[in-house]
Amino acid sequence: MVDFYFGAGALVMILTGLALARLLWGPGPADRMMAAQLLGTGGGAIALLIGTGSGVTAMVDVALLLALLAAFAAVALCAGEPGSKGIHRERIK
């Protein structure tokens, strides 16, 4: 059973690697945002599978955190879009 967890973990890791390629190459912002989501979900799945395989129950917390912050990272990617003008947008001079 442990072998199954690690094997499944390896499979998800390959898929997450493909999502990583999409995140890095893009080309569009929408591709990157979807890839960031998939990276969060995939990372969570890897944490759960490998955590169960190696008997470290606290990995569930890592998966929880990755799932939560993947949604936040998508918003962060929006904030970094060249269209948004950054910190001093409303500076009164």
């Binding site: 390959i14 939560l68 936040f72 060249p82 409303e90």
Partner: protein, 310 residues
């Protein structure tokens, strides 16, 4: 069989790291760095350092990513079309970074097979403190002085960020974080996610006593949720001159200092806990510290004052 995922993970980490260094534009580099942080969280997990994995995931995903991406967006509008650093400077930076990498690798690989460790001593005395998580025991009992200084450094860092504000807007609120392209899905997310994130943040703080987790991870999650609300434009960043905000910033470190000095009367000395009350005091300290960390991280990411105080 467990080798296969590890090998794949190492390849992905190396790929993301190479991309971060080699990417042509700043934004791609930063995105590579965020992905690298996520992969490193998985690496720490495989090394059975779950506390570090949680910190890496929370800080990398919740704080650093947003900070760097906003810095990118701001720099793009400032130095569009300007040439980047000269060839000599680039080579010098590359050389220094490579030298540092080699140095760290040499120190990590070249040391004795079994590096000197105090871990058995901690494991033997963990019952005296009454907590289940050895990392929290070390951070808040045996090496509390380091943790105290670390929290005070956080205040200094926030003061550093705030002091970048020009005189005419001193004390005013930071620039609105609201996205230029604010949309209904974002508003929806900012209404749905923070309650869930708040519970997870509190859970991480509370759990830190006995399981992996703790003040920094939980505090950063809380900060990320507050930032999400500000990014969606549902709340504006508070004025930096507000007394409540400033009290919250120093609350955790102040409680830590008072409890440290109370050790002179109640226990054996500075930062020691009275017998039997160690766990109660540490959990109370963690709650106070997490509150301050959440406010400090969120305000640091919001940036210095940029609007005149009302």
């Amino acid at each position: 069989m467990s080798m296969l995922p590890d090998l794949l993970l190492v390849m992905l980490v190396l790929g993301a790291a190479l991309w971060t260094v080699a990417a042509r534009d700043r934004r791609s580099s930063v995105i590579g760095f965020i992905a690298l942080g996520l992969l490193l969280a998985l690496v720490w997990m495989r090394l059975y350092a779950v506390d570090v994995a949680l910190t890496e995931a929370a800080v990398g995903g919740g704080a650093t990513g947003l900070l760097l991406l906003r810095a990118c967006a701001r720099l793009d509008s400032i130095d569009a079309g300007k040439p980047s650093a000269g060839r000599t400077l680039q080579l010098l930076i590359g050389f220094c970074c490579a030298a540092m990498g080699v140095g760290i690798a040499a120190a990590a690989l070249g040391g004795p097979d079994l590096p000197p460790t105090l871990a058995p001593a901690v494991a033997a005395n963990i019952d005296a403190v009454g907590l289940g998580n050895p990392v929290t025991v070390v951070l808040l009992a045996y090496r509390a002085i380091d943790t105290l200084l670390e929290k005070i450094v956080l205040i200094a860092a926030l003061v550093g960020v705030w002091s970048l504000a020009p005189d005419d807007v001193w004390g005013g609120p930071p620039a609105s974080l609201k996205l230029a392209k604010a949309s209904e899905p974002l508003t929806f997310l900012a209404q749905i996610l923070p309650p869930v994130g708040f519970v997870i943040g509190v859970y991480l703080i509370w759990n830190g006593a006995d399981e992996p987790g703790g003040t920094f991870q939980g505090g950063t999650v809380l900060a990320a949720m507050w930032l999400l609300v500000m990014l969606a434009g549902l709340a504006e960043p508070p004025e930096t001159r507000r007394a409540l905000l400033q009290y919250l910033v120093v609350f955790g470190p102040a409680v830590f200092l008072i409890s440290g000095f109370s050790g002179f009367w109640l226990a054996e000395g500075f930062l020691s806990y009275p017998t039997g009350f160690a766990k109660t005091m540490i959990v109370a300290l963690e709650v106070a510290l997490a509150l301050s960390i959440a406010v400090i991280v969120a305000m640091m990411l919001a940036g210095p004052s940029a609007r005149t105080p009302r």
